[in-house]
Symmetry: C2
Subunit: 702 residues, 2 copies
């Protein structure tokens, strides 16, 4: 009979998601190795075989990477220090251990070109774990790609959460995130690549501008792009198909998907050719039809194979002579049996005599009770009596039956062998398939960027030096604009030239201060992804890091000490930001009493102004901080306005220069109808506070 | 045949919920009538027939009542002003209209004793609407009970929501609310009464103390209470059963439930008797067994009646002679038929001859194919031929069949008539049943209070004058304590004597300021319900109104102008609070810039101090307001402490006298590791701010 699949251990990090809806999500298995205060960090998506490896300097960076990847399982060597294990155990991630052992061929293959010892060690840990749990071929594992978090725009896990890059704070879903907005990919591979990009926007201007140029090329060729999208839609998940080939879990239908996908490659090349854009030439050159694989599948696999690979019906006729012989034998015998029926009807005169088949008795001749008398004595051998019929056999019938069953069994076994052979042949081309997948993914993501840019009227950002600063005209928060509709959305510029490092934003609650700050950060991220951005004009420096402290509603509910969290995040920014970073502080200091919160806010602003020089957006309720613009030369005030209409407050969501109206609160109280004497008194107190505030607060740091 | 039920219109306000899980919820149909600037307001729960009516002075009161009742439908006269209709339409409540028409007998009955024209008018509107939609007997409608919101502790809809009296802010569910905590009722009626009480705590000290005394009595008799609970568990929903009697929708099983419930009454009286507590005598006297109803059901209704009332099998033997005659006739004939079977078996010798019945052919004699030959010729008349059997009849058999069917039809019709008669007789006692239900409900709620008091170690509050003030020792937030467990919970006293009207509460975020304020309000409400309260000792004045401004997380999300909402709620309190009211202001002024928020907060505190004199808990981040205690003689500072342990902040949740540590924020910043120079600078700025604040803020109002 047929061989059984080998046993494997399925762990949270090695589950290969097969549901179509999840194909755009990756499931990462991670590994950590510690040596001399350094950490080797590696991760793989077993479904696609991609492996990334890095060297990290601190536990906090390791934890940050683990959280950003949303890994469900981390593998560590058995001898890793207990303290580090304790840290990992806090994360609600399964910690698995892998004992050291001699390197396998997979380890050597994956580690090609890696030099750093701690990276080599972590790759070994990761791959040995895969080998020991999967217990099957891992031919699709790709050569590990080294990365350094510092090669990319750095944002820690909290920043990605606060900016809702791929997960909504409110719902935990993808809907309403930047990923949701940007994802116009047509393939699952493209969707996964976009998510990778979003986790690591670029720092290299040349690379960014290459992506931009390609987005521009797709934008300039509307009809070609549309044809391209049709072709992409027909490309299946090549990475995962390659993974299934390697695992030996591929079936006939998968191979047809592979063939169908490869059939699109010449079309895609052709479309790119038609666009005649030099930035796309490189794609054309790299698109590999892998004709060996296409032809093999085309010749070997039937048009509608079954899901099972062990029951025959997969291999085409004319592919293998022996198989054809078996099939002929079967067909001849079946024909003989079919003829037997009409022949016996004539001989016996029983017009409803029929030949049937069941699994227990095989082929038989059936005559109903009423006609039994007409059966010539001795012609058949009685086999089985039913209520209404008798069943007979003959030696010839049984002989043919034997021929058929024998041929069937042999052909099924042969088909399985042939299928395995074909799979092994394809396995040799896995790296070409993976490379093809990578190229198509990138084309897919970039054509998606061009679609979003067109539909949302985005503009290509240009990059300037940090000295020249930020110039965004009519910028929009991309997700809010998409949700509200362009008509509803009030655009706002951001200007931070060589004279401005810090924008101090005042204005009432709910007027849009947070949205304005998030808009800035998302624009930067989109720009460094190579995407166009929601603005009429956009000039930006390339930022190295983004830091945020943006209050989230869930902090209030979780019952944590919000202020402690605020201060920890603020300190993180102050400790790590450079003059090329972007800092967003939303209402910093609000979680404590007024004066000490205000004092801290002022001291932090001064510290950034004096020591860090990062571009900073700082929103505040401490209206009195607006006086700082007198002493801090690189601080500018802006405010979000509100206006009164028929006794109701209308938020204009428009950011304007200068500080906000300082007696806004008393004005609202008046609209709400508070007693006149009370309002007069409040006005008086405010006057006093303002008078003294003016005297002291803007003092410069000593 | 049998009469069909009359047609009725089912509307959102007149749906009678029949699911067991919903029996503790009421569905109120409301009506509003406007005349000369006054509003008649009435509502009924059609399932129980209770009607309440009131005269309200302002649209806002009407809307507040509508929202508090969670009504789904409000009936207004056709000529009600368009402006008012517009207001109502905003509420997401179905607005139905009722044209004026001559008063029916139901209107007169319900309106007994009501004098106020606008109340009479609204009752007429409500009842006419019921008559015209229900098109059926409304005998269970009770005489309308007048109420004045001012007879009760007034809390508007927002206050009830903010304090989570019956609906959790987070989940919208009952779990985690005061109602959830207090509801240890054993009957659905008790559950509904508790909800009514919770909506309207008492002002009348005598009534409150009567409830307290009864709770005390139940607490003092543990074993009797346990027996009482068993009895209550067996009491069905008398109010709804009475409603079904009136509607004519009652069935035999309902009547058995009614009987079973009435059977508990002597037991309950007996238990109360055993307790020998004078405060319970009144209950004993009012418990009416309604023996007429019990006896009638006991005599008339069979032990296991069907759900349908039109198919017989409901009425017992010996209840009605004619019915007994029919039944005898049926039984005799059935017996004759049963005998016929054995007789015919003997005569024919066919041992499997049997007599059967089906709806199409009636009674028949059946003989299987094999035995047909044994049937003596001409003995039976052939009626029907089956594959394997023949069916016969005889004239005698058909005669008996006719007798049986005739008797059956007559007895079914008679049973229905008898059942209707019984129902009408019970209907005459509906008011006694309703009164009984009311007494049992009250017993049930009060025994429930005693259970909670005992399990949660509550104490009986005593009432003092407003001059003497509030003295709570080791008070707890009842719901938080229940959820956390008594071991976890830190108790806190509240002291506001003749020298203190206002407690100004400072302390870090999340330290428990809101919980402390809610605890105070819930203790007041529980005390005025007649319940014991979570404290070791409790002296309270009786409050006339509660006002709150407690920030809810959902305000932040809904995107409203929080500050406008704050000011409207503050103004509402200032406009309506008296010296006997309780005001809770949580972080008032936070929604705007610092100085104007602070100025408003101070002006509001001063206004309450000078003009209102209500007991007020005011929590704030404006640490500088603590200086007000120098000038406002009736203001006292308290704070919630936090302490440091191993570089982590531990919230003690303990309320202590005096203002909070003013440099808490800087202290946290230090723990979070902010640069030393920055902290020094913040300390310096804080010193300056404090120095000037001290000079001006505590100035008294001019």
């Amino acid at each position: 009979m047929v061989k059984r699949a080998v046993i494997q251990l399925v762990t949270p990090g090695t589950v290969v998601q097969e549901k179509p809806g999840q194909a755009k999500d990756s499931n990462f298995l991670t590994a950590v190795y510690a040596q001399d205060g350094q950490f080797g960090f590696a991760y793989t998506d077993l479904a696609t075989g991609e492996i990334f490896v890095s060297k990290l300097g601190a536990i906090s960076s390791v934890i940050n990477e683990l959280l950003s990847l949303r890994t469900k399982e981390v593998v560590i060597p058995t001898d890793l220090s207990a303290a580090f294990k304790t840290e990992l155990n806090k994360l609600d991630i399964l910690v698995s251990t892998q004992a050291d052992a001699p390197a396998t061929s997979e380890v050597s293959f994956v580690s090609q070109g890696i030099q750093t010892p701690v990276e080599l060690a972590v790759l070994k840990t990761l791959v040995l774990y895969l080998v020991s749990t999967q217990k099957r071929a891992l031919a699709h594992l790709q050569v590990a790609v080294e990365y350094e978090p510092s090669q990319f725009l750095r944002m820690d896990h909290q920043v990605k959460e606060a900016l809702e890059l791929s997960r909504s704070l409110r719902t935990g879903e993808r809907h309403g995130t930047l990923l949701w907005l940007l994802d116009r990919t047509k393939t699952a591979m493209g969707g996964r690549l976009l998510k990778q990009w979003l986790d690591r926007p670029l720092l290299d201007r040349t690379k960014i501008e290459q992506r931009q140029a390609r987005v521009g090329a797709f934008s300039a060729h509307f009809f070609e792009r549309s044809t391209l999208q049709d072709a992409l839609t027909k490309v299946y998940d090549l990475e995962r198909l390659a993974g299934r080939v390697a695992f030996g879990s591929v079936n006939g239908r998968d191979l047809l998907q592979l063939k169908g996908s490869l059939a699109q490659v010449p079309l895609i090349k052709d479309i790119l050719q038609q666009m005649q854009d030099p930035t796309l030439t490189d794609f054309q050159n790299q698109l590999d039809e892998v004709p060996e694989v296409y032809d093999l599948i085309d010749r070997a696999i039937q048009a509608d194979p079954p899901i099972s690979v062990t029951e025959g019906g997969i291999i085409q006729d004319n592919y293998n002579q022996t198989l054809d012989d078996y099939r002929n034998a079967m067909n001849n015998s079946k024909q003989w049996i079919a003829q037997l029926e009409s022949q016996e009807r004539q001989v016996t005169g029983i017009h409803n005599l029929r030949i049937g088949f069941n699994k227990v008795f095989g082929y038989y001749i059936e005559v109903t009770k009423g006609n039994v008398k007409q059966v010539p004595a001795g012609r058949y051998e009685r086999k089985q009596t039913l209520t209404n019929a008798e069943r007979y056999i003959t030696p010839e019938l049984k002989e043919k039956e034997r021929l058929i069953l024998e041929a069937q069994e042999k052909s099924t076994a042969l088909e399985y062998d042939l299928f395995t052979e074909i799979r092994e042949q394809i396995k040799k081309q896995i790296q070409r398939l993976q490379h093809l997948a990578a190229v198509i993914s990138e084309i897919d993501v970039l054509q998606g960027f061009s679609v979003v840019a067109e539909q949302q009227h985005y503009v290509k950002p240009t990059f300037t030096s940090h000295k020249k600063g930020v110039h965004i005209e009519n910028g929009r928060h991309p997700v809010v604009e998409k949700v509200l509709g362009a008509q509803q959305y009030i655009a706002n510029g951001v200007t931070m030239d060589q004279h401005t490092d810090i924008l101090l934003i005042t204005g009432p609650n709910m007027s849009g201060k947070s949205t304005y700050m998030r808009q800035m950060a998302l624009t930067v991220i989109m720009a460094q992804l190579g995407s166009f951005v929601p603005a009429d004009k956009c000039e930006l420096p390339i930022f190295d890091q983004i830091f945020t402290r943006i209050g989230a509603a869930d902090d209030l509910i979780s019952g944590k000490s919000t202020f402690m969290v605020e201060m920890i995040e603020a300190n993180n920014a102050l400790a790590h930001a450079s003059s090329q970073s972007l800092i967003l502080f939303d209402e910093l200091g609000r979680g404590t009493a007024t004066y000490d919160g205000m004092a801290l806010a002022q001291a932090i602003i001064e510290y950034i102004h004096e020591h860090i020089h990062a571009k900073t957006l700082f929103s505040t309720h401490y209206h009195e901080l607006t006086g700082l613009s007198d002493t801090l030369v690189k601080l500018a005030n802006v405010h979000v306005g509100a206006t009164e209409e028929n006794g109701k407050l209308i938020f204009m969501h428009k950011v304007l220069p200068g500080p906000a109206d300082k007696s806004y609160g008393i004005h609202v109280a008046q609209l709400a109808g508070l007693p006149h004497s009370l309002l007069q008194r409040a006005d008086h107190i405010l006057g006093d506070l303002e008078a003294q505030g003016a005297k002291t607060v803007p003092q410069q740091a000593e």
